[in-house]
């Protein structure tokens, strides 16, 4: 898929954890303003892909372009400064900081206080429950609230590209629906490009434009999400039909 509008483009990216070859040549391209999703089983390398994009794991080979700029050798803070933001897997919020301080940390690299305030209001309008919990410690929030906080924190840097790592992990089905609706709303409100990593293939393909299927470090399928939802292979392996 060649795409002149690509905000993020990975070309033949390899990543190793010591001797383990975790990513074996990933290539994908995400257009501006879309929601893309990456689905696959446990240990397929989905989270590693996100960590490699962000520079937490160094890609040993291959190219990662963000808005045409190579970022594969940049440190995480530099990637963040370019306008990429990520919610880590398993809702890693700061447990001993209040909800407000957590959100404030999301805007760590920003100096435009007035705009930060506006974004804070926006996050509170997306997740009204966070406003009630403003002074409470992050670690005492419920699972769903923590996930909302993690997404809210990632939004506070006003990213161009938002990387979400398994937002549905360990949440009740009802809450998963709420979270996915909000993800869709974020995309529509602000035009933020979203790259979603999920195990819940049904939900993820349902809200995304483009989908990638990953197996043992490789992307095995890439197509429009609507097409993937109908594909026999995906249905059998991931949708449980």
């Amino acid at each position: 898929m060649t795409n002149p509008q690509a905000i993020l483009k990975l070309t033949d990216v390899h990543t190793y954890y010591g001797n383990i070859h975790a990513l074996k040549g990933i290539s994908c391209s995400i257009s501006k303003g879309e929601i893309a999703c990456l689905i696959g089983a446990n240990g397929a390398g989905k989270s590693t892909t996100l960590m490699t994009i962000f520079g937490v794991q160094r890609a040993s080979q291959g190219k990662i372009l963000f808005n045409g700029k190579p970022i594969q050798d940049l440190k995480p803070e530099k990637v963040a400064a370019l306008g990429v933001s990520q919610t880590p897997e398993g809702r890693q919020i700061f447990p001993r900081m209040s909800t407000y301080e957590n959100l404030e940390m999301g805007a760590f690299l920003r100096r435009d206080k007035g705009e930060v305030q506006k974004d804070l209001e926006w996050v509170f309008s997306l997740f009204p429950v966070l406003k009630d919990r403003m002074g409470q410690l992050g670690g005492t929030l419920s699972g769903g609230e923590q996930q909302m906080l993690a997404i809210g924190r990632a939004l506070m840097s006003r990213p161009e590209l938002l990387l979400l790592d398994e937002p549905s992990l360990g949440l009740a089905p009802k809450l998963v629906e709420v979270i996915f609706e909000t993800i869709l709303q974020i995309n529509q409100d602000s035009g933020t490009t979203i790259f979603l990593v999920e195990q819940n293939a049904n939900m993820a393909l349902g809200i995304s434009d483009t989908g990638y299927v990953m197996e043992t470090g490789k992307i095995v399928l890439a197509d429009k999400s609507s097409v993937l939802l109908e594909s026999e292979q995906v249905k059998k392996a991931y949708l449980g039909e």
């Binding site: 803070e77 963040a80 447990p95 301080e101 940390m105 760590f108 409470q136 410690l137 670690g139």
Partner: protein, 408 residues
Amino acid sequence: MIQKELKKLVVYGAFLVIILTPMLGFRSTTFEPGRVLKILGIFMTILVLNIVVKFIRSQKKDDGRKKTPWTEVVRKRINRYPKVYTLGGLLALAFAFPMFADNYMIDVGITCLIYVCLGLGLNIVVGLCGLLDLGYIAFYAVGAYTYSLLNLTFGLSFWAALPLGIVLGMVVGCIIGYPTLKMRGDYLAIVTLGFGEIVRLVLNNWDSLTAGPNGLFGMKRPALYYPSFGEDGFTWVTYYLKSLPSLYYFILLIAILTIIGVRRLDNSRIGRAWIAIREDEVAAELSGVPTTWIKLLAYALGAGFASVAGAFFAAKLSYTNPNFFLFMESCIVLCIVVLGGVGSIPGIVVAAFVLIAAPEVFRGLENFRMLAFGGIMTTMMILKPEGLIPASRRRRELRADQEPPPKD
């Protein structure tokens, strides 16, 4: 219940006799039962008192009302007055102290204030950034030796040597910080412990530079300069801070500046970044915190504060030797931070006074004064695990049951 407790008492007593007799009873070759009985008596009194307290408590009826702990009551009482009065009162007390204290008390006061500086410096590394450092005293040694050597070799004054000492301390801080960037918890503790010992052993064995175990002596005290308009015109007069009260005021000033500095850091962006790293390093990295630099900065600043204290220490005694910088000192500083309440500035100040003054108070117990020290620490950790004056964040963390429950 009484019977059960008495049974316990007998068992404990027998146990103590078995342990204490060989440990204390023999002095070289003669057996002295008196020594054993003395210590045994102390222990048994404590145990009996414990039973009495337990008995009285069990007699008291539980009236069902939740009592507010006395520390909370004190906090509320203090908070009723504007902060200016509390701080002003404490400052006035600190300034008036040398006027009614004897030299011994002033000397203990100076030591306490040195440990306040050390505790606050270590608080940056341990309390804010969450890096367990067991070799912190090495930076104190660097400060002390930098001033000593610069003063003895080049005749640099305290004020000229101080910035150099701070810079050198920060450099050494980075030297230990850099290789340990990826380490956390126990591993980091062991590496820093080893580092602290390396510094001490180098000081002990590098005879040509540090005079080894003999130590360095004859450094000038810190000096003040004031203008004088005498017969031969305008001159600067040097006044060496030799008397204990003048040294006390000097370290008081340093301690106040340290408190202000650490407080400003605590509330700054950098302080936030430190706390974020302590909470979750990956999440901090993803929020755009340059973790490498921020962690090195914590080491460097912590070391910088320790070197100031070290330089003052060497200048005050006009003597320094490697045995001032034993591992025990690192432990005491860490105890101050933990006892006071990790991350809490007023707590650390109070704890420094408690822990440094307590062994002095118990000096009558001779070698057993460290026992009192251990007793204080153990009691504190049982009664108030969050420290004397906990930082608000930490108090809430350890009393999570008082948070409003989540609702989904």
